[in-house]
Symmetry: C2
Amino acid sequence: MVRSETSEPGRGLRNSHLIGEMRPESLSVLSSLAKRVQLDKRAILFFQQDPGDAIYVVEHGSIEISIIGESGRKLSLNVMRPPDVFGEIAALDGGPRTATATALEDSALLRLRRNDIIRAISDQPGIALDLIGVLCERLRWVSQQVEDLAMLDIEGRLANRLIILHRKFSDERGRLNLSQSDLADFLGATRESVNKTLQSWKSRSIVDLSRGAIWVLDDAKLAAIAVQARQL
Amino acid sequence: MVRSETSEPGRGLRNSHLIGEMRPESLSVLSSLAKRVQLDKRAILFFQQDPGDAIYVVEHGSIEISIIGESGRKLSLNVMRPPDVFGEIAALDGGPRTATATALEDSALLRLRRNDIIRAISDQPGIALDLIGVLCERLRWVSQQVEDLAMLDIEGRLANRLIILHRKFSDERGRLNLSQSDLADFLGATRESVNKTLQSWKSRSIVDLSRGAIWVLDDAKLAAIAVQARQL
DNA sequence: GAATATATGTGAAATATATCACAGATAAAA
DNA sequence: TTTTATCTGTGATATATTTCACATATATTC
């Protein structure tokens, strides 16, 4: 699955979000420690519960972070793209992976190992603050997910997610390449339910649909649906 | 609501979980910066969305961390007791509060402000690692919550939560002081649904019930129910 | 192009849970 | 004690969502 791993360090690190928030002096310390990892499409980088001590930075491609239940049901938590960082929980606390990471397409990552991170922190204490920033960001994301799951019905959750996914993944023409099944996995809902909601939105010209793709036509109406769902 | 705030620092800090994981040399730095806060029962320390830059350590009492929807529905995320730490997200990243903190009883807290924390980190870089530990722990907790909400039905969620709450809050005689409404708020479910599940467990001698209290009689059976729920 | 796989669209039935409407029970206040 | 408020217990009904069972459309492979 993991195609290759070289020790070529990285210009890629310079563009990462982690790095984006980092002081320049932290940069050289970390870049020199990173190793590049190549993943084929559908390769699984790690499973939930695995031991694992590395943090990853996405250079190219996209990595899905998901929870796979024992029943086989999947809940997608996030899709990481350049210059996102993931894997930080297990990397930093030494515990098992809290989720599964899968390549959605051929991808290239930079890997930083726990010991190297700890060592880098003692050289450059500012790095710890940057990592704290990443963890806080992740906590806000997951907390929002809890709130949505507990408070919103499918229409509300779908409106919320679609807005976010659209912002992050749509191409120049507003096309979001995502099957309705995959979208359903993001909500903790079934494909059928998602389809029915999308159909009703299509009839109101809020979205347009085709095989494997969604266009958001009316961002404002979606936002209104999301807001309204919170008030019920 | 906030009864008083003195600058008396703290032996209390020494017992905290934050501190429990900390190097002794970090200790004196932080203790000297903490201020004590007294809260009356039902006092609200902060609301979700509030600005806020302090982290708190529970000295006495208990603080409920919850999300309150615009509809008024409440989802309880956690109850913090000595020596728990909370409020770390906003304190560390400077953003708004992600949840509401309410005193369930008269409580005493230690408050550490953002600037003091940052300053303490530059004196004692090890403190940053301790904070990273707290954030990772919180991420694991919230991630588990997402998984439970998305994957488990009410019976499964109730079994899970009850095991955890029982471990954390039951007194020597195994009595858990918690109304069924409050328990329902922990699950994102209604009191009625919780009651019906508890009744069925009572008939199987898994729990015993009285006004405002629950006894877990058969921990193992509860665990079995939780495991089984994951496989559906 | 034919065959095969994958994605979408859609109704009917089954299921889980919420909502509603009460009737005790128990505790707190007067 | 009487009153009042707050919990608990429980059925009937309503509702959201899943499950199931297909038909159709669109890609991919042979």
